[in-house]
């Protein structure tokens, strides 16, 4: 074996321009940069449009961005699962309906079934409901996965059927009624002033994020050195770490600058026996709980995809299903697991979505499949299979939700929103094809 340090895959050459050098040194994904650029364009665009046409730019305000973060959670959680589905060359059109179905199951449990047994407001109610919702989602997903893997029915058909079946089943169970109010503790999982962790908590989260970023960066260097692989230049590593920490701290500052509304402050002060001074009290929202759920899901799913055998097999199946099978991977069981996981995440999204509305209806999550698939595709998941990232899908969810929120803010009506969202989905796939054609 040679003792020399092996060269990096794409070494910097003397005639590379400044930008090329920068990109190669940091190993930043051009696609990620493109996505962030698109996001910036959408945000600034909607803000300016509001400022010019309505005389009020409502987009780039702490209030709107905080709400945007909460609204992104439900789609984002499911989008991480959709990455696995699409990477393995499948599709799941039923996620919105599974969400509605799980929401109804959880609603029935906490409003009609559990209180008579355990007593109203029993602390176990919300826990049982949440677990039941996610298990329901996982079972539904596993069933669909089994039909796809063992009976060889295309995923497109199975989940298109599921789109109707689960929506209809939810309707039958709830008899078409809205089930409310949900358990008060359960409701916190949907965000809102009480469903957020406040200023101090947010700083702790921000600090943990920074520690994690630095640790990851150092560990990466150590690993590369241990095996004598080429190291990134120090300045590039430092730049990336500082940038990531900056984003984390920026997010904390943002969520902490959005105060509780006056009414909630008054309520809270009354309960705690605090006197509210003339100018009011500034109580920060901080990160909303659903956002923390999304971040946790994102981290766990990233670890799953990049650091476990399971994730490796997901990519292998997407790259070449036959090769995966010949390598001894039980591809059918993998398909069942992947769809079960998708269903599980739809159940978790159902928790967030119904908690946010403080009610459950079978209509919850209608058209979510479109947003979720669009999020994954915009985030770089290739419909040809084999390629996709979790962070990309979450960013994609943020893009989709930004579009949606922005259009609501400037007063586009629902019909226009549909036209735009549908077109964006098609455009995103086309851009993906262009991008891959070029990078080949």
């Amino acid at each position: 074996m040679s003792d020399s340090v092996s060269p990096p895959a794409d070494p910097i050459k003397p005639r590379d321009g400044l930008l090329t050098r920068f990109l190669k040194a940091t190993e930043l994904d051009t696609r990620l940069i493109g996505m962030v650029g698109a996001l910036a364009l959408i945000w600034v665009g909607f803000h300016l449009y509001g400022a010019l046409v309505n005389n009020f730019g409502a987009f780039l305000t702490p209030r709107n961005l905080w709400n945007l973060s909460v609204q992104t959670s439900s789609i984002g959680i499911m989008a991480t699962g959709m990455v696995l589905v699409i990477v393995t060359r499948h599709i799941d059109l039923s996620v919105g309906s599974i969400l509605g179905f799980c929401a109804v199951v959880m609603g029935m449990l906490q409003v009609y079934i559990l209180p008579p047994i355990l007593g109203l407001g029993h602390p176990m109610i919300w826990i049982i409901a949440v677990v039941a919702g996610m298990v329901t989602g996982a079972c539904v997903g596993a069933l669909q996965g089994a039909l796809i893997a063992y009976l060889k029915i295309p995923a497109f058909i199975v989940t298109l059927g599921g789109l109707l079946v689960w929506r209809g089943t939810g309707f039958l169970i709830a008899r078409g009624e809205t089930i409310s109010p949900v358990d008060p503790t359960f409701a916190l999982l949907g965000g809102g002033p009480y469903g957020a962790i406040g200023a101090t908590g947010s700083w702790i989260v921000g600090a943990l994020a920074c520690i994690g970023i630095v640790a990851l960066s150092l560990n990466g260097r150590r690993q590369r050195r241990k095996f004598k692989f080429a190291l990134r230049p120090v300045w590039a590593d430092v730049f990336l770490a500082v940038l990531a920490c900056g984003v984390a701290i920026g997010a904390v500052l943002l969520v902490n600058s959005y105060p509780w509304p006056k009414g909630i402050v008054r309520q809270y002060a009354q309960r705690e026996g605090i006197k509210v001074p003339e100018e009011g009290i500034f109580i920060s929202h901080g990160f909303a709980i659903p956002v923390l759920i999304l971040i946790t899901v994102g981290i766990l799913m990233t670890i799953l995809m990049n650091r476990t055998r399971f994730g490796r097999y997901v990519f292998a199946i997407g790259g070449n299903p036959e090769a995966a099978e010949l390598a001894g991977i039980n591809t059918r069981m993998m398909t069942v697991k992947i769809f079960a996981m998708m269903g599980f995440l739809a159940g978790l999204s159902a928790v967030v979505a119904s908690a946010r509305l403080n009610s459950a209806t079978n209509a919850l999550g209608t058209l979510d499949e479109l947003y979720v698939i669009a999020a994954a595709v915009i985030g770089g998941t290739s419909l040809a299979g084999g390629i996709g990232t979790i962070y990309g899908a979450i960013l994609g969810a943020l893009v989709m939700q930004s579009l949606q929120t922005g259009m609501v803010l400037i007063g586009f009506d629902a019909a226009i929103q549909q036209v735009v969202v549908g077109s964006v989905l098609v455009l995103a796939v086309y851009l993906d094809i262009l991008y891959r054609g070029k990078s080949k």
Partner: protein, 257 residues
């Protein structure tokens, strides 16, 4: 290179007995029996579509034979899928290479048998280091460890497939046209590799269209035509023309008794 005679008095390492498999009425393999002894290289020859790949896929677990039996070390083996084959230390280089194009060389080499850290996470750095070691041995010109194998040349991809089969200490090695995409230098190295593995006592099924390679590397040859076995001969006993006759005309060489 003169191959020494292998000892064929003991039990064979592998024995395929009366293997048949059909696809939609077409008999791809029809009652074929072949065997393989330790330290032996058996060439499997035949024209395109003769059923060579299909036959060895029954041994590698990719297909299940409709009828027939497989014996490993004299004991009946049940091979229902590629995992079973691996558990008998059977490794295969497929004609199609069977690589996941989106993964890098190391991920492909260890696919299904990843090295993991103490916490159970895949150990990419360790796997890459191991891959560098074996590739250095097989193909020192191979430098492309970070890119997905879709970005590699045909020969480089073939090197990855060969490395995968060799890395895990196979006892039985199946090579389905392993040098089809290789340059002369790399082909020579594979020849040397086969000779070395043979010395270590492996049994190798080598499928090839190159008669010279076969004459040089193999101890015996089994020729197939239209799914059936034409015959099995000691390489030392036959000429190039005899083999060509078996392949093209499907007739056994006439023995001068």
């Amino acid at each position: 290179m003169e191959t020494e005679m292998t000892d064929r008095s003991g039990t064979p390492l592998v024995e395929l007995r009366d293997i048949s498999i059909a696809f939609g009425g077409i008999k791809a393999v029809d009652r074929v029996s072949v065997d393989l002894y330790p330290g032996e290289v058996v060439g499997v020859l035949g024209h395109n579509g003769a059923g060579k790949s299909t036959l060895i896929k029954c041994l590698s677990g990719a297909y299940q034979a409709d009828s027939g039996e497989i014996f490993v070390n004299g004991e009946k083996a049940v091979i229902k899928n590629p995992r079973d084959a691996r558990s008998y230390n059977i490794e295969t280089i497929y004609q199609t290479l069977a690589l996941a194009d989106n993964l890098d060389a190391a991920s492909n080499l260890f696919l299904g048998r990843e090295l993991v850290t103490r916490l159970g996470f895949v150990d990419d750095a360790q796997m890459e280091a191991e891959t560098r070691k074996i590739m250095y041995r097989l193909n020192p010109n191979f430098k492309n460890f970070a890119s997905p194998v879709s970005a590699l040349s045909g020969g480089q991809r073939q090197s990855v497939a060969i490395a995968r089969a060799v890395y895990f200490n196979a006892r039985i090695l199946i090579m389905d046209e392993p040098t089809a995409a290789l340059g002369p230098q790399e082909t020579k190295m594979v020849g040397e590799l086969i000779a070395e593995l043979k010395r270590q006592g492996l049994g190798i099924f080598l499928i090839s269209h190159d008669i010279h390679d076969v004459m040089e590397l193999c101890d015996r040859i089994s020729v197939m035509k239209n799914g059936q076995l034409v015959g099995t001969e000691n390489v030392a006993d036959v000429t190039d023309d005899d083999i060509l006759g078996m392949i093209i005309l499907g007739k056994k060489p006439e023995r001068v008794a």
